[in-house]
Symmetry: C2
Subunit: 418 residues, 2 copies
Amino acid sequence: MFDCRGVAAVTEIAVSPLAPAAFPAMPAVKGLRLATAAAGIRYEGRDDVMLAELPPGTTVAGAFTRSLCTAAPVDWCKHALAAGAGTGRAVIVNSGNANAFTGAAGYRVAEHTAASVAAVLGAEAHEVLVASTGVIGEDLPVERIDAALPALVAGLCDADQESWKRAAAAIGTTDTFPKAAAAPVAGTNAHVAGIAKGSGMIAPDMATMLAFVFTDLALDSATAQEFLAGSVHRSFNRITVDSDTSTSDTVILAATGTSGHDADTHTDAFREALDAVTLDLAHQIVRDGEGATKFVAVTVTGAADDHAAQTIARAVADSPLVKTALAASDANWGRIVAAVGKAGQRADRDRLAIWIGDEQCAANGVPHPGYSEERATEHLQGDNIELQVDVGVGGGQATIWTCDLTHGYIDINAGYRT
Amino acid sequence: MFDCRGVAAVTEIAVSPLAPAAFPAMPAVKGLRLATAAAGIRYEGRDDVMLAELPPGTTVAGAFTRSLCTAAPVDWCKHALAAGAGTGRAVIVNSGNANAFTGAAGYRVAEHTAASVAAVLGAEAHEVLVASTGVIGEDLPVERIDAALPALVAGLCDADQESWKRAAAAIGTTDTFPKAAAAPVAGTNAHVAGIAKGSGMIAPDMATMLAFVFTDLALDSATAQEFLAGSVHRSFNRITVDSDTSTSDTVILAATGTSGHDADTHTDAFREALDAVTLDLAHQIVRDGEGATKFVAVTVTGAADDHAAQTIARAVADSPLVKTALAASDANWGRIVAAVGKAGQRADRDRLAIWIGDEQCAANGVPHPGYSEERATEHLQGDNIELQVDVGVGGGQATIWTCDLTHGYIDINAGYRT
């Protein structure tokens, strides 16, 4: 099946109603070459391996799952980033098998993959980052990646609209649309451009979150790591679909430096472009949330500090009762009160205020006198929902993005493996 | 509609498939008198107020929600327990309106209710405990409780099979069956007997968890409080349906002392009977979990300590991905690995072991060589599921009880208010 975004849909599940209207216009990132191939790891009739080749001198940085049960490729990347002091020559990604819960043998598979890619590109193994996504607890048939390597390398071409599309599609699993975003770095001819996959947040099997972000600005590796950590904190760490965390979540930033500009002299512009790309990709993951029919921003203000605000916003965003009410366009703000109450952060019950869109439901811990359930319901009937809670104790604030919880989520997760 | 349990079903939702076969045989608790009435607070054609009269000399203890946004009756009970030094003469409970998020006026309603009951029973207001469950953010029409009081008091009769049934039904909201449990205190003629309501765990509107446990053993109030806290910790605090916490959760223990026996000389027997009753009631709440089709025990062993084990077990029990897999009888133990990984407690990935029923899926961080998915699936096709995880770092262990996540949950929560 081909849709308006011009790529093969990953499964027969319909494209999310919250998907962007079109795959975005993607820039070249000088020096970055992309290729995809069909290695047949699990899927039939689609590309399932993506190779990104990076020019010599590229710096790389990574951010990884906080799960204590990390997958082998995550362990490999952490080792490689340390061993290579943040320099990188390639990123190889496969879908269909996460190489997770595969013990010492799984680590050897990731290491072997890196070494194989390094050998054909004339690089060191620790200059090759590896990411895998798909079923867990099954051995990754690494010989299929080996067999696909010659075709992958032969297919490498400069990143352009078509190769970005193919790359974004190849790394997908239960994703219903390929995810990409780009932004120019103001005052330079450089860009930040990236692709991502993820639809549940974050399932261990097929819905791990992966993102690969590239720039042709020059960055030293310590700065790259610092910028990436900050940007991930403001984007991928602010979304939730179902509160689950994958064993494999990985975000890689690679800076080729081929634009002739460097980040040191364009710090703010680079941060802005990087944040625009990571936030756009993060929002796209929510928009592809399993069964999602509404994109929801939960903003908490008046908390003790920003961290407390984030905890409260997450409690609201993760509440199954809030999420099912949103699915039904039910202005049941009592469920928001309950979620705030259970978050375990300071909140003044008697100063609590709640808004659904622009409609104020509650003020000072009681229903707002002018509240119109009709107007609140009208807002909830759209597919772009804003909830706000002021907890009345301080100046902390945060926004968490999520989606609603629907029959579609149950259909996908109670059915897809059997 | 009347079912085999002989009471009017609360809503038109079908009785949970996990409901006990029959309402249990309930004992008299000497001195305890029960009555119910239809006050018309929200529901038509059913009793929605329950009064339990306690003889002079009764000690009372309470355990309450840890929500920071407590409902007014919770605040009243805390005040009354302190003011009355743990003595009580009555408990009055209404369903249909939770008197939550109602500000200072809501507190005055709870106080007024207590005073009204106290006046007709010849007691002090602080000897009357109040609990309310139902919609939140709406004023409780207290005049309807006042109007029903004469009928309630006239209807008071010794606790017997019929009055227990009526009491258990009157306090229900979205419950699909009335919940009661009893146990004799070995070596005495005394009993522990209680009723509960709750079906989501724990929704702010209609699915708050309330439990009222009575004994004719004599207990001093400090001991009653201590026993209740321990028993709640081992029962109601070990269950989860959807991870949400109510603003109104309340458990009351009342000891009339009318059996002539006291708890000091029967400590172990009393603790055993109390635990049997609270655990039975807690399990019944899970069995009435919204949309539940399977009753699930998640046991974690090998954790750093019991608290860590409980946190990990809760992460597994609350994972929407685990719960949807259980709904589908899908032996997708990778989702259990992911839930363990996100729990934030020490676990040794490379020593992790997982069982579904008696079938070992994983050992030492890799799939178990003898694992039969067929046998695991067979266990999951039953409605009494046991999951076990050993995290390989210590001697801590805990069990959390939960249910699966199904289309029924979405139906109930995305629809019932509209």
